[in-house]
Symmetry: C2
Subunit: 132 residues, 2 copies
DNA sequence: GTCTTACATATGTCTTTTACACTTAGAGGT
DNA sequence: ACCTCTAAGTGTAAAAGACATATGTAAGAC
């Protein structure tokens, strides 16, 4: 093999050529955000959607469809439990609650996020040393 | 629609049932890591692979294949430039260098990462308020 | 009364990002 | 000749995220 590469360039959504979208988000951050909100008190999915920006940043646009899928995956793993709340007025709501396992998972997320903070802080220190 | 959901549960790779892998990594973090290393001095791909853990965390396992793809995508967008270094001993090496546009992109990454730090810090404060 | 809007929960599908597996090739050692 | 290390790449699948649309309740507008 030698010289010159082939087709199949990775697409990185340059808005305009030479202008990449830079975001710097934590992978799967909605997940710990859900756990944190649910630790404070049980709520239903729609309320979680409205409150997620509080904990995950004001600019995040949570995908509603994926959020419900995540909630169900969490329930299958015993991280949250849910039931239909027939009592509440309005359309049928499924109210979610954090389990003990969920609380422990949140703890692990918090630890992982602290580690991520250390890594990013190290990056930024090294960035600033280099100067402009 | 009412009651009970369907097939198609999202897969979240639970290592053991009830034990999710928690990682908390920044999306596409290798990209700014490459830019930072290349700002310090030009180097070839293989050297970048060895040095990435320095700036992106010791545990990150960079995928070698993807790294070369990213480098080419960066070059197509004028973020880095490269050429074969016939002079150096050993197998053919392509040496990468950061362009002016690349330096500006790194600046934008740094700003985005600072913002991410703020968001995560806010999350952790709220987490600690709740106690255990 | 039916029309529109807001609430609430979902599914389908496509793209982007990441992970895993493999190939090619030069240079040096044994 | 054969093996290992360095160096650069391709192929492909899985995971994560984005975008579009469907379904049903309830309240208020006209």
């Amino acid at each position: 093999m030698r010289r010159g590469y082939a087709r199949g360039a990775r697409c990185r959504s340059p808005v305009r050529p030479g202008h990449w979208e830079v975001r710097a988000r934590v992978e799967r951050f909605v997940e710990p955000a859900l756990l944190l909100l649910l630790r404070e008190r049980p709520m239903h999915g729609y309320e979680l959607i409205e409150r997620i920006p509080e904990v995950a940043g004001e600019d995040v646009r949570v995908d509603v469809g994926n959020l419900y899928r995540i909630l169900r995956a969490l329930e299958e793993e015993g991280i949250v439990s849910s039931e239909w709340s027939a009592d509440l007025p309005g359309p049928a709501k499924r109210t979610y609650e954090l389990t003990e396992a969920g609380s422990r998972l949140l703890d692990r997320w918090a630890e992982a996020l602290r580690e991520a903070q250390r890594v990013v802080a190290g990056f930024l220190r090294r960035y600033e040393q280099g100067g402009r």
